[in-house]
Amino acid sequence: MRKYFDEITRIAGNVVTVKADNVGYDELAVISSSRGSSLAQVIRLEGNQVSLQVFSGTQGVSTGDKVRFLHKPMQVPFTDELLGRIFDGSGRPRDGRGEVQGEQVDIGSPAVNPVMREMPNKMVETGIPMIDVFNSLVESQKIPIFSVAGEPYNDLLARIGLQAKADIIILGGMGLRHDDYLKFRKTFEDGGVLGRTIMFINTAADPVVEALLVPDLCLAAGEQFALQGKKVLVLLTDMTAFADALKEISIILEQIPSNRGYPGDLYTQMAKRYEKAVDFDGAGSMTLLTCVTMPGDDVTHPVPDNTGYITEGQFYLRHGRIEPFGSLSRLKQQVNGKTRDDHRAIMDACIQLYALCRETREKRDMGFEMSEWDRKLLKYGQAFESKIMDLSVNIPLFSALDRCWEILAECFEPAETGIRRTIIEKHWPAQKVGS
């Protein structure tokens, strides 16, 4: 028997309050209005007043509309049929194909027991030297790309998705521009990975509440695949849109904002999602790469700031390049010691020399005279930027290391690099030794 409640007492923002009984906290409901039906989630119970967050917004909802409770939380079907499919933020197909049937899994599962986690120790090669050589990505890492509007962060995300050799790629789009969504789809199609990709896309034109569900849907599906032993890569863009959706809802619920209008539990809400990244002891793993656009390029803005405290490092994407300063992979030490014996030495030397080059450029711009050493640094800086830092460079790790040696040999004497003698002897390009 289906039971309906139709005494709606309040409609404000995306929240509807209805008089009802026998309703569980966090469960789902369907609101049927003249605009069609929408899913909604219980976010507050107070006596017989039940507040619902309506996923597709409350435009057109009337006090006479009917609410039916489903007595289950938001779920995502888990089956191999998800692969190659595209859904919206409520989990409905947006690729014109039918509903997916399968075992239903609750979203927002409890935290993983820390003792069941494995130490992250497997490197993920991306073909991007600024990541592979200088800030290696590690399986089960959670790491954002800090960027600003206008930078090609979605291209970078798509490229890593393509090249990271994951078993399953899950893309979550929040407030995504429709063009970007189509571009992602095309990239994955051209790259031949669409068959192992799942997308949950909330575009800028879709209801904002649905953006809140996107990470949970992606992570719940990903977690199930990881439990089956799969290597899962989850890409989420843009987490700032997710945070803004949180802000919108909390203001409607009259929560006291803590910082620039964001709710006090912003850290917890984001951490809950990011912490889903995991390497299960005895099963697969889930790696989480996100985009965070920094309003006004301000890293102290609450969203990037809280993100930095949660994630295991960050990549700064600026002027179309991954910035070597500020970018950090907190897990790189776990993997870069066992790739090749020169990896760490190259990593340190190239960055230190590049830092010196930047100082020299400042000196040059202030009109100071350039010494022989300064000119070497300037030459090095230019070579490093065009052959290593440029985002179009796409080479495997070992080739990237070799290329770094070549650049060093072109610009410096061995001793000037500050690299240990034993490593120099082994790796310095042959024709240059002693020149």
Binding site: D26, V112, V115, M116, M119, D265, T268, K272, Y309, I310
Partner: protein, 575 residues
């Protein structure tokens, strides 16, 4: 006594009760599928009780039962705590994993101590003796310590021992003594007892002023901004500045008996690192695994937020328990900002009037009373125990002018401020020597450390001046000061955390190196031009750096020390 749920909002439940409700007592919200969710009464108005639920409230309904208990949220104390990994409510995580697998299932609670394990009990009190709470009845060996079995701390008044167990094997649930109170009432004592986490556990004759230095083997801390046994300190810093790394290294090297790590609202990965590595690491002072002196309380950021608030108190209570045994205990809380945020979330749900940045008005007093639980205490028999608390702070935007940092600075004895600039320059530890301070006296004569501090300040001034006027415009005297400041910074304040020798410098060696460095700093080199000055300082820096890497009293150590002495004797005049 039971009640009924009338409202659910996030992790806050309001229940109507039909009897006596105790503030801060435990309640269980019973879901319709029978799962009981642990919660705590945090506010009472009329017949309504506000409860914070330590689990996700998904599925709770209006009208569901709440079982109210009389007791406050407590932890169990007894042998077997050391080496454990608990969640914020003292559930052993490895046991939860055995029962529930990969995920932390709501409503699953496990006793904090292994009740089947037998301990070798040796009585020390005798039948007929008068005892009070906290006095020792006997002991069991736990790791490297004699774990004292004490008269339950909650019991008030004096008791006569009527019966005490003979030496032998007992579990924590076996009766080991029977005590009789003044009214002839008999009470049974086991090796385990409970204590409410939010009440300080401190049964002592008196509190003393903390004065004994606590060596962390981090030179900049021990020599410049020392901490003492029974003192408090805080480490604020922006993300990526190395707060957690510093805490991890301190947890390994600190010269104390017991270390309690409270991972509060931080990354699970960091806890995993500790719990996978510690059992493998050998404590050089005892020859046993580091885990044997460690307890980890892990309430990571993805775990329910109310339990995060409690986890700090759980950790403190366990620390106080080992202090009652006369041990030196160090509690490392990472991060207190997450704990404060948990309070903020709850305060918001309770619709309290917010203070600055929406933190509750009582934030500062809560922080103060947390750090006040540290201290050195003296027992009736003259023994002493200490609890040192070190908390990290994660200020929003790395800006120290925020309520949690400011509230903490008011009450702690030492401040180790991490700076973004230093960590970007890959200087470890990134503690800023110009901003940080300590009210304690450490292993170095304060006059000497004041002298180098003056040098650092002066050096910084010269460096700033140099960015404007260039090297050419700086006098040789000023230039030498800047070089000396850099030399001290590079060769003493910075350490290579990955090097076994340089990464951990014992107090005795710090004194020797510090005095040697001071000799160099006080030298009048009489430089006349800058290239020569730089060259000389590079030379001595190189000697010191290698000296730092040489194992104490090794050939290399003596050899380098000889070269340093040679340098001092020939390169300048003592002033």
């Amino acid at each position: 006594m039971n009640g009924k749920i009338v409202a659910v909002y996030g992790n806050l439940v309001i229940a109507e009760a039909d009897g006596r409700i105790v503030q801060n007592s435990v309640g269980y919200c019973v879901r319709s599928d029978g799962v009981r969710l642990l919660s705590e009464v945090i506010r009472i108005h009329g017949r309504m009780a506000d409860l914070q639920v330590f689990e996700e409230t998904r599925g709770l309904k209006i009208g569901d039962t709440v079982e109210f208990r009389e007791e406050m949220l407590s932890v169990v104390l007894g042998p077997g705590l050391l080496g454990q990994i608990y969640d914020g409510l003292q559930n052993p995580l490895p046991n939860l994993a055995k029962e529930a697998g990969f995920f932390l299932t709501p409503g699953k609670y496990i006793h904090g101590l292994d009740t089947s394990r037998k301990w070798t009990f040796t009585p020390s009190a005798k039948v007929g003796e008068m005892v009070e709470s906290g006095e020792t009845l006997g002991s069991v060996p736990e790791g490297i310590f004699e774990h004292r079995i004490m008269v339950p701390f909650m019991w008030q008044g004096s008791f006569t021992i009527e019966k005490i167990a003979v030496a032998g094997e007992y579990t924590v649930e076996d009766e080991i003594a029977v005590l009789v109170d003044g009214e002839g009432q008999k009470r049974s004592v086991t090796m385990q007892q409970h204590w409410p986490v939010k009440i300080p556990l401190n049964i002592a004759k008196q509190r003393l002023i903390p004065t004994t230095p606590l060596a962390t083997r981090v030179r900049i801390i021990d020599s410049m901004f020392p901490i003492v046994k029974g003192g408090t300190y805080c480490i604020p810093g922006p993300f990526g500045a190395g707060k957690t790394v510093l805490q991890q290294i301190t947890s390994r090297n600190a010269e104390v008996d017991v270390v309690i790590i409270a991972a509060c609202g931080e990354r699970a990965g960091e806890v995993v690192e500790t719990l996978r590595e510690f059992p493998e690491l050998i404590d050089p002072r005892t020859g046993k695994s580091l885990m044997e002196r460690t307890i980890i309380i892990a309430n990571t950021s993805a775990m329910p937020v109310a339990a995060r608030e409690s986890s700090v108190y759980t950790a403190t209570t366990l620390a106080e328990y080992y202090r009652q045994m006369g041990l030196d205990v160090l509690l490392l809380a990472d991060s207190t900002s997450r704990w404060a945020q948990a309070m903020r979330e709850l305060s918001g749900r309770l619709e309290e009037i917010p203070g600055e940045e929406a933190f509750p008005a009582y934030l500062e007093s809560r922080i103060a009373s947390f750090y006040e639980r540290a201290g050195v205490i003296e027992f009736k028999d003259g023994r002493r125990g200490s609890l040192t608390i070190g908390g990290t702070v994660s200020p929003a935007g790395g800006n120290f002018e925020e309520p949690v940092t400011q509230g903490t600075l008011k009450v702690v004895g030492a401040f180790h401020g991490l700076s973004r600039a230093r960590s970007d320059a890959r200087r470890y530890p990134a503690i800023d020597p110009l901003d940080s301070w300590s009210k304690y006296v450490g292993i170095i004569d304060p006059k000497k450390s004041a002298e180098v501090r003056k040098l650092l300040v002066r050096g910084n001034e010269v460096r700033q001046m140099m960015t404007v006027v260039g090297e050419e415009g700086t006098s040789i005297e000023d230039f030498t000061i800047a070089l000396k400041a850099d030399f001290f910074d590079n060769c003493y304040l910075q350490q290579n955390a990955f090097d076994e020798v340089d990464g951990a410098t014992p107090a005795e060696r710090q004194r020797i190196v510090f005095d040697k460095i001071l000799e160099v700093v006080e030298l009048d080199f009489g430089f006349t031009e800058k290239t020569e000055a730089r060259k000389t300082m590079v030379q001595i820096s190189d000697l010191f750096r290698n000296w730092n890497y040489a194992p104490t009293d090794s050939e290399e150590y003596k050899n380098l020390l000889g070269q340093i002495d040679q340098f001092i004797a020939t390169k300048g005049r003592q002033v």
